[in-house]
């Protein structure tokens, strides 16, 4: 019994045994009116005692289960792992029954299905076969089902939880100490950042790593100006658009190719978005902002622990919680870290405490589960790349080709040689006439990617996100296969 109770789900189920108790209650109410011989009375007493023991057992089970979930687990968790006794979302109707297995429901609108792509109808019951599959955004819904099946990871926020602007008891009043600690532990567990850097660098958090890109730009250009901003093509668009948007061209200018003597800030994304290549800086004297959003074992072999001066990370690509908006930076230079905090403090007065607390809960969950979400994503990403490679290999004359992937390497996390499985496919149209590859893929393949131009590259290229839901990836791959084999 005790081992069974240690499993939270089982303990929880026994809390509301409506049918079982109802039946016994009816039996009980007839028992006192029975009249008969002494032996039958003894039988009755025995029956009552058995019933009593049974009921007592129920009560004991409930008390133990209740005690278990109250005394163990992580604070803030609603589920059996935490200090509550029920996971809210388990009481939502099952999306598989309501939404025909083709959609999800959320607590804010518990009867309204959010249909997977290409499914329509109030219950997502119909497939729109002629639909266009949107693989434009890097929306990491690949993780959605994983979390849907883990309602025990639901988080509680008390209404009085750190309502003020700052964390009064923290060394750094802008960051929840438990989050700082959990993030550093995560890197130690995965091994993608060198231990002395994990312990020694300053940790700056932002409202998503997007805010930290701006913080790095502003911080570096406030320390020293003017700055020339650059990145090698193809690059993630916001490195180029953010300095343009802030429009302060007297403190920073973008150049594809910096001139000699320019005081350069170079963005290096490795693995690169969009093409997955392992980049190195092009400008030897530049201040380098390393965007390490994809340097995790589900995207690439962790071939060495990083030790760079400025590295950006984001929760969205490791747990899928893009909407939570949490990114972090490891910063060696104290003055730069302070400038980056100044930006976060000035532009949004810090990062939502709710986001910080939820991120803490999710990262702690990963720590307890040996990086389980990454293991899930790694397996799924390997499957996706095998499928894409098979489609390309099977095509007689591929109209689009996949980017060449980096070679297999020994991964420090897995302890074995692994193939990369990057977050994006970087397609190139091979037909000379297919000049606008994005348009061709959309009109003839019903696949909407992102135009290579958004990455500073030619329009012969299109980026396809591979981070959609599994069902959606299957539709994408079917469409890609049909596009590659128009005769069939």
């Amino acid at each position: 019994m005790a081992p069974a109770l240690a499993d939270g789900d089982k303990g929880q189920m026994s809390i509301g045994p409506d049918v079982e108790v109802g039946d016994k209650g009816q039996m009980l109410s007839t028992a006192p009116s029975a009249q008969g011989r002494p032996t039958s009375r003894w039988r009755m007493v025995a029956l009552v005692i058995v019933l009593l023991l049974s009921l007592l057992l129920n009560v004991v089970v409930i008390v133990i289960a209740s005690g278990q979930t109250h005394s163990s687990g992580e604070p803030g968790m609603c589920g059996p792992e935490g200090k509550g006794t029920a996971a809210t979302n388990t009481t939502l109707p099952s999306p598989d029954s309501i939404c025909s297995g083709n959609g999800i429901i959320h607590a804010d609108a518990p009867t309204k299905c959010e249909c997977y792509q290409c499914y329509v109808g109030p219950q997502c019951e119909a497939m729109a076969r002629g639909c266009t599959l949107d693989a434009g955004s890097g929306n990491p819904l690949i993780f959605e089902k994983y979390w849907q099946e883990r309602s025990e990871a639901a988080l509680c926020i008390a209404p009085s939880f750190h309502i003020g602007y700052r964390f009064a008891n923290a060394d750094n009043v802008m960051v929840l100490p438990a989050l700082d600690e959990a993030l550093r532990h995560l890197h130690l567990m995965v091994g993608n950042v060198a231990p002395d850097v994990v312990k020694g660098h300053h940790l700056v958090i932002g409202t998503g790593s997007t805010q930290l890109i701006s913080a790095a730009l502003m911080g570096l250009s406030h320390l020293r100006a003017p700055r020339t901003i650059t990145a090698s093509k193809p690059y993630y668009g916001p490195y180029h658009s953010l300095p343009m948007y802030f429009n302060n061209s007297h403190s920073m200018v973008w150049k594809d190719t910096p001139a000699a003597g320019d005081d350069v800030v170079e963005f290096v994304t490795a693995p690169n978005n969009p093409d997955g290549s392992m980049r190195a800086p092009r400008n030897t004297s530049a201040d380098v902002v390393y965007d390490r959003a994809y340097y995790w074992p589900h995207y690439t072999p962790i071939h060495r622990p990083l030790a760079d001066d400025l590295m950006l990370f984001t929760l969205s690509k490791i747990t899928g919680h893009a909407g939570l908006r949490l990114g972090w930076a490891f910063v060696k230079d104290k003055a730069l870290a302070e400038k980056m905090w100044e930006f976060v403090g000035t532009s949004t007065l810090g990062v939502s405490h709710d986001a910080q607390w939820h991120a803490t809960g999710l990262v702690q969950y990963m720590l307890r589960r040996d990086a389980s979400p990454m293991r899930f994503a790694a397996s799924e990403m390997q499957r996706r790349w095998q499928r894409l490679k098979a489609i390309e290999a099977a095509a007689k004359r591929p109209r689009v080709t996949l980017q060449p992937l980096m070679p297999s390497q020994k991964c420090l996390f897995w302890g074995s040689v692994r193939d990369p499985s990057p977050a994006y496919a970087w397609l190139k149209c091979q037909e000379p006439d297919d000049e606008d590859c994005w348009e061709v893929l959309k009109t003839q393949g019903s696949i909407k990617g992102r135009n290579g131009g958004q990455y500073g590259a030619s329009e012969k290229y299109v980026r396809l996100s591979l981070l959609m839901r599994p069902r959606e990836f299957d539709i994408l791959s079917e469409k890609l296969e049909a596009f590659m084999n128009p005769e069939s």
Copy 2:
């Protein structure tokens, strides 16, 4: 029984009746071994039946309580009002026992007291009588105790809750539909914004209203540039510092007094921060950004419903959740609303879904409770102003004076004539020698306010926040009284 169960707390307490059941269990185990006459057997049976009924009742109570909290209430709430069965924070040790009634504990560090100001020690057991009371920040901890006593308002977030960047089912994918709806209902309930504006204006949300100040600046200057930014003294500092920080002086410049022909953006805060005055624009042709953070019935009589083209609001000043980071703007012009969304989307890719969901829960709680947090704050703010006025009136020759308050007015929310009770005291040093009023108050009064210079005013002025915890306000008022009556 049913009415008692409708009270969540009582239902919840019966879930873990450890002591009661333990006692009965012991009685039961001795019962079967009792031997005696038939009457004593019948007594035993009767005893067993009574026990049985008692236990059955316990079970029924538990089942009903469990069913109650599962089937009613708001989705996402952990407490008895929601779909969970336990409010996480009720299982935290009581801060009043752990922290001597002089501190609070939070779920992220459930054994570490965060002491109120001027209290020290691991259990906040000692008062540091010579301490300086910090009334600088407008940190709205006045609401902390209110929420501490309302653990039923705890929120659950399922781990799969809208993990993607956008709300797929929403008209505007950047804002949770339930939040949009709750905020509009709140204004209708309070009556501080005209119903046709509540229904007709575009709602833009931001990571706190700070982000919306930038969004308004950027939006207005992206629509038309260059812009001259201004506000009447004394003004809230960030109106001045944010355009300076973004440093793009070719699209916007600050001027205390705009020149003829300038294309002006004027910030009007009414009631004003710092002095509580009901401001009107100074520049008739300006685009006006109305900061209405304090136009709520706990700070000022709601003398008319507003209908301005651009109005900013923030959750922090109405529920106290400053750390949650949520602000909103009502925007009449569609093009401006889109530019403001563009800023929020560009700088942080939107607002944390966790913050949006928690804000939804808090505003819905207010709606169900007839604006209860505002009623709480109104009563407390009235008390604070009565105390301050009494201190000023009792002083023989006040060394500092309070700002004159706006006259009493009929309030649409209260339905009666009310005095204003603004969020800040705007003190003026009266002695000619007290040139640096902030320094005088700090060194001779042990009160740390904010220098008038931060508001574009003279250093004869100091702003004191009145939004601290009740205990802290009492210390502040004692210190102010002592400062005003040095002879006593």
